[in-house]
Amino acid sequence: MSVSLFYFVAFLTIFFALLVIFSKNPVHSVLYLIVTFFTFTLHYIMLNAQFLAIVNFIVYMGAIMVLFLFVLMLLNLNEGSIGSKSNLLKMVGVIAGMCLVITLVGSVKALNASDPLVLQTQDLGLVKNLGKVLFSKFLLPFEISSILLLSAMVGAVLLAKKDIKQG
């Protein structure tokens, strides 16, 4: 039951991820991206990681909303503007994509697939346990990543603010 459910959700994830790439309209792509992230949430729920599931849902919902605004404001959505790229650009794209595929296949092969990962405790993903682990065992990486995010935020504000008065 659980395995077949996993395969069904995994199929949905890949299906919608492919639709993101293949749909011609950028707004449709964004909407398929939402569905893709929603299927990620389903994966987390199946792993009993409720907190991660709901945070994934909220954060990506908000993030994709920003992406939607970008698509509307920054892209020129005229019919002819998409799909008319030069041959050189296409070649570079194919080479880069092939490199990525080789890297992915290599890393998957390097994994020891016959060694299944067993969850130590079933309730690891609940809020209480997750908080305890984050603030004791992984305190330093957790704080460092928060500083990283803060500096990214300050940098973004600085870049957006063009006319800072000198002196």
Partner: protein, 345 residues
């Protein structure tokens, strides 16, 4: 046992569904009556005694109107928009604890559909999903006014979700749990959270107005600038779905605020009443109290709508980013300091 559980949950879902539908329908009438009261006129009073059947008449009218789908719109998304808005506005009520456990035929029945341990975050997720209905509908209409409304709805929701989340963090530092049921239980009697978190409540209230697109934050449908905003192209039942979703969201926001800050089903002297009336009718009184609190909040929503004029767009952004977010962060810091001091003493 298993069958009884399914029947119990199914019955509860059905009741909550019907109750929220009825309340949303009669909110439309209440809104017009209150508008009339505030503007010193009568309001709708033709259909039935005192206008009681006005929502039915309005609903019928919506059904029989012609459905128009613009030729240049993307059809599927045009239909998906209002459906999504209506669908998500029902989802949130699943984690609201409507009362204490009731005893029916010697069986403990919980008056909450599900008690997931991330209840508050679930509501946040549902709220952020709700804006997608407006956004998809506004974009799919292929109309510049609708698009402007959709863009405004999206940016407004992004801006006001941040102070909303921050105001909740200060509350969570007090309650130490994300489960709605436990938060409601902690406020037993008159021990309501609003007395400990008045600033947090105020921020949450303002953000609820913004998230439900109510005046003074109804810029997505600002009719003086954008004709009708995101629903300019909509007619008939799809238009009704958008309107209904707004009233349902208002109901949900009121329920969340009552539960988080105003004690939910708790009221002073509830132990005495529970002992007097027994394990069936005691909790039902609590449920009635919760409904009364919700009505009070809905009245507040309407009162503000007919009193305060609409914000300008830059004022809206300034309020969100430059006033509410710093205020919410200061609230978190002060709450943290006070909690530490009380622990040490």
């Amino acid at each position: 046992m298993e069958l009884a559980f399914i029947i119990e949950k199914f019955g509860l879902i059905l009741v909550i569904f019907l109750v929220s539908l009825t309340i949303a329908a009669y909110s439309t009438l209440a809104e017009r009556k209150i508008a009339g009261f505030l503007q010193d006129r009568v309001g709708p009073n033709r259909a039935g005694p005192g206008g009681m059947f006005q929502p039915l008449a309005d609903g019928l009218k919506m059904f029989f109107k012609e459905e128009i789908i613009p030729t240049d719109s993307s059809k599927a998304l045009f239909i998906l928009g209002p459906s999504l808005a209506l669908f998500t506005s029902f989802l949130g009520s699943a984690v609201i604890p409507w009362g204490q456990d009731v005893e029916i035929f010697g069986r403990q029945v919980s008056l909450q559909i599900t008690d997931i341990n991330v209840g508050i975050l679930y509501i946040f997720g549902v709220v952020s999903l709700g804006v997608y209905g407006i956004m998809i509908g506004g974009w799919a209409s292929n109309n510049k006014f609708s698009l402007m409304g959709a863009v405004r709805a999206a940016s407004q929701s992004i801006s006001y979700e941040i102070p909303m989340g921050l105001s909740i963090i200060a509350l969570l530092m007090l309650t130490n749990t994300l489960s709605m049921k436990e938060i409601a239980e902690q406020q037993h009697g008159f021990n309501w959270n609003v007395f400990y978190q008045p600033v947090g409540f105020l921020i949450f209230l303002i953000c609820s107005f913004a998230e439900t697109n109510r005046t003074p934050f109804d810029l997505p449908e600002c009719e003086t600038e954008l004709v009708g905003g995101y629903h300019t192209e909509y007619s008939g039942f799809k238009m009704g779905a958008f309107m209904f979703a707004e009233y349902l969201n208002m109901f949900l926001a009121s329920a969340v605020m009552s539960t988080l800050y105003f004690g939910g089903y708790n009221y002073p002297g509830m132990d005495f009443v529970n002992e007097l009336l027994g394990p069936l009718f005691g909790p039902l009184i609590g449920m009635g109290v919760l409904i009364l609190k919700i009505f009070a909040f809905i009245f507040l929503f309407m009162w503000v709508r007919w009193t305060v004029p609409r914000f300008r767009y830059d004022q809206l952004m300034n309020l969100g980013w430059k006033i509410l977010i710093p205020l919410a962060i200061a609230n978190i810091v002060i709450t943290g300091i006070v909690i530490t001091l009380i622990d040490k003493l």
